[in-house]
Symmetry: C2
Subunit: 208 residues, 2 copies
DNA sequence: GGGTAGATATGATTTGAATCATGTGCTTGC
DNA sequence: GCAAGCACATGATTCAAATCATATCTACCC
């Protein structure tokens, strides 16, 4: 199964600067929902890059409940492989999709041997940290309006943003039910705080 | 003002593998609450490492509200400096403390020139990503009990954890009011789900 | 075309977390 | 010793988000 690198690169720009030696050993894997990719206790041997679909890192509580420790709907899932001797979670698929597998030792070697790939990787991680810290701040706000305004301020450009996902998916990212997102958008519009134009949201400056 | 590297290293273990050349150019800065360290639009020239106290990256919404994009109560704040040509936020102090300043070009040079420091930096970022993703998952749960159980599962070892912070601070990390944390801990104890022994929390396996 | 699935959208009801109030006990500093 | 400040803890009340219900609109498949 050959990999369409142009298509993969649009989904994950870091792949553009990935050294050829590492690209050549990549394996494309198609998965369906409900597969178990790796189990707790196994030794990590690969770095994952999700292209499509959703995978989850889950633990099972003693009471039997399933705890989602993290999920990925696109991008690298490398932290677990890099740091730990064994997986502390099961890695399962939640929604049909595709991912790339890179052998861990070769991935490390590429980071050590290729300065540009190394810098790009650090940049990717740093951006992810920034984005996640902002998201945690946002999720700590306890009103729907505050979360939406925080999103516009933090992720938008001059208070304007074009949503690239459905409102339902956005609601999930905001940690809100989609109903509340619809209602709050309406309230903010009626109050003159916000203008909604399709997927384009603009924060209005309130005259004082 | 000389820097006590032993003390600093206990707060931030990465400093142990930092090359001497970079250590020698570090500057220690004591700050009080309410100082503005950098302003939006300035060009980043340093990497920060918070030892004590709290600093925040804030934006001001058109409506005049202050939006906390991220906060740090310890550890590196480098993402902004690394990625952007100019700061997109003001960086202000929220609580008296100390931080280390590293000149940005020398920090980059150290990452390029010292393999061990480079690997340690990548490891630090990767761990932070993992921790933050777990925290976002947790903050998306909408009951106090679920968040507490998720914390025990994700951050604990075999369902046991020793809190290293006050319950109030923990409540803030969970995105809950401290009152709800007290009440929910009591409820979980009464239900036999959990044992609280001072700062030691243990999840009990429910027989089925 | 008809049927299904899903996003969008809004209303009614319930529920649980925030908030306010209050009190205890522990430290810290004078 | 005493006061101030703070973490810990619990009760009463309020309020807003979750949930359930329902309807429209679109896209897609047969």
């Amino acid at each position: 199964m050959t990999i369409d690198w142009d298509e993969a690169t649009t989904r994950q720009p870091l792949l553009r600067v990935m050294p050829d030696a590492l690209r050549r050993v990549a394996v494309l894997h198609h998965f369906n929902a409900g597969e178990t990719l790796f189990r707790r206790g196994e030794r990590p041997k690969v770095v994952l890059c999700v292209l499509d679909g959703e995978i989850r890192l889950v633990r099972h509580s003693p009471a039997g409940a399933e705890i989602v420790v993290q999920r990925s709907r696109g991008g690298f899932v490398a932290e677990a492989s890099f740091e730990a001797k064994v997986y502390h979670c099961d890695i399962v698929t939640a929604e049909k999709g595709r991912l790339l597998l890179f052998p861990l030792p070769l991935f490390r070697a590429a980071l050590d041997g290729d300065r540009w790939f190394n810098r790009a990787w650090i940049g990717l991680l740093a951006r992810e940290v920034r984005r996640l810290r902002a998201q945690c701040e946002r999720l700590s706000l306890n009103s729907a309006a505050e979360r939406i305004l925080h999103y516009l301020e933090a992720e938008g450009d001059q208070g304007t943003i074009t949503l690239t996902q459905s409102r339902k998916a956005w609601a999930a990212e905001l940690g809100l039910s989609h109903e509340v997102v619809y209602r709050t958008l309406r309230k903010l519009q009626d109050a003159g705080t916000l203008v909604v134009d399709g997927d384009r949201l603009t924060l209005l400056s309130r005259e004082r």
